[in-house]
Amino acid sequence: MRTAMARIALATAVSAFALPAFAETSVGLILPKSGTYAALGNDIQDGFVYALEEAGRTSEFKLVTEDTEAKPAVGLTKARKLVLQDEVDVMVGIVSSGVLGAIRDFVDGAKVPLIVANAGNDEATGKDCSPYITRVSFSNAQVNRPMGKWMYDQGVRKVYTLAPDYAAGHQMIDAFAEAFKAAGGEIVGGEYTPFGQTKDFGPYLTKARQANPDGIYVFYAGGEAISFVKQYGSFGISKEVPLYGTGFLTSPLYVKAEGDGAIGVKTSLHYVPTLQSTENKVFVAQFEKRYGRTPSEYSVQGYDAGRLLLGALAAGAKDRASIAANLPKVRYTGPRGPMEIDPSTNNVVQNIYVYETVKDGDALTQKVIGEIKSVRDEPNGCKL
């Protein structure tokens, strides 16, 4: 009897180990790890990993990282690999709108949820939306639209625009121009500069001045933003023609390289590290402790992608279909403020902040001077 009981007890104990361990969620991080956007890709990944660490649930996730090189063809190959070979449950990432455009059909057809942690092209949550694509970062129009009315309210009546000549540049300026004109302003002129090739903005700045605007509104990011702001500063025209734009122009990630030219530039963005909410103060302090640098909008996008995924899993999602269904239902208050996903577009609904770059001692920092709450995109052809 006792030996039988002992055997049964032993068998039960052994079978407990034979039960499948809690299934790991396999996440494909699809980001540029080389090339011009590598720094952004790293920032997004760090934010995402931090979200998992903050929740204490890193052991429940298996992360597979692939480098898109910010090239559409490479991105598509890597997406296929993650889905077909690594069989990930969900993909997170995409910095370049070009890559997003290239993999949209594949993601939709393969029915794999994708949390977009940067790429802003409007169609991805517009006419090309998909129940499997949830965007937690921003849309190009969303960041620019509020500035139209805000600048008009500040007394700006005539604006000259500049942006690089590719899809994002056009979308950003179009969104701003539409809102600015609707508020009563006038676009006195504008140019699109050759994307990635323009190094000397001198001729364009001179043309902008000749149009005699109340301000210049631009979209530039990364290396082009640094060049543009430095050259704008060198011409000494900030009193005559103040500079406005989207916050990518003076992103905390590289504003230091821009020097004094960035001082006084007023831009709009969905996040700055100097936001005064409790959630953000904790986030910034912990992020700095963990990584030794201040978080940027890219880090917070990665973080919110992590929060979104954790929220979807907490609501009981287990596989691709249920994750995709649960992602748009997650709501919480994060470092950016109140976060929710609009079920009619699968795009994030968030506050947009207007900030001025100011000098604080030796460093450049962001002073929030405006807040537009709960900016939501129109469906624009999305049928979800």
């Binding site: 590598a38 001198g202 000749q210 640094i226 060198s234």
Partner: protein
Amino acid sequence: MSESGFWALQLLNALQYSMLLFLLSIGLTVIFGLLHFVNLAHGALYMMGAYIGVSVAAATGSYWAAFLLAPLAVTAIGAVLYFTLIERLRQAGPMNQVLVTFGLIFIFLDLVRIGWGDIALGLDVPQAMAGTARVLAVDYPVYRLFIIALGLLIMAALLFVLSRTQIGAMIRASVENAAMASAMGINVQRLFVCVFCVGCALAGLAGVVAAPVFSASTGMGISILIPTLIVVVIGGLGSLQGAIAGSLIVGFLETMGAVLFPQFAAILVYVLLAAILVIRPKGLIPARG
């Protein structure tokens, strides 16, 4: 802003861009003219000049230290490249030279990414040049005027050396006919090394001079290579006058193109390149008529 003021500003913009192109193209064209070597790694040396300049300025707090040391450092890198790689490739034929030196660009690019990171870095202009000055009745950034002045100075210095000094004569002789020059007792080999080093120094100088305006980024070596090659092909391989003519033409065309025909600005230069290749394939002022 007045009409004449507008054109004065654009003239200065064009001149400044031309001078930058000149600094880069003169090194490339003389290296090709003398060594018959297509050195595409020239763009990488430009990038190294910018990044080393950024580091020196950050370490010493002085732009001028960077201005002096970056070209020297790039010359050293160039010398190492010459003795390890380029000397061996001299007989290899243009295709192999292009492939190897083009590959060097990517090696340097990743080395820069490892050493300096992915984010573009800025370099501040020296305090004395931070403002604007009144030139041709407009206010123009002093630093850009400095670039123009430096370019003109180096142009004059090179013209003087090449046409009025003995070493200049030896260089011109070796470009025309290396075998004959060697037969006359000129140490062509040593001349090659000298000229190569000067070319590298100029590339490094162009990098550190451009960094405050354009910022040091990992893509800068590749993105400046095309305009530089166009200057060299349009101007004529191997000649100083060709580099001067080419850089002025390309600089003005790109700047005025951006002003007058912005949609076509990107292709104007290529149209001119195609025309030159058809009408005068050796370039406008080639070294060997």
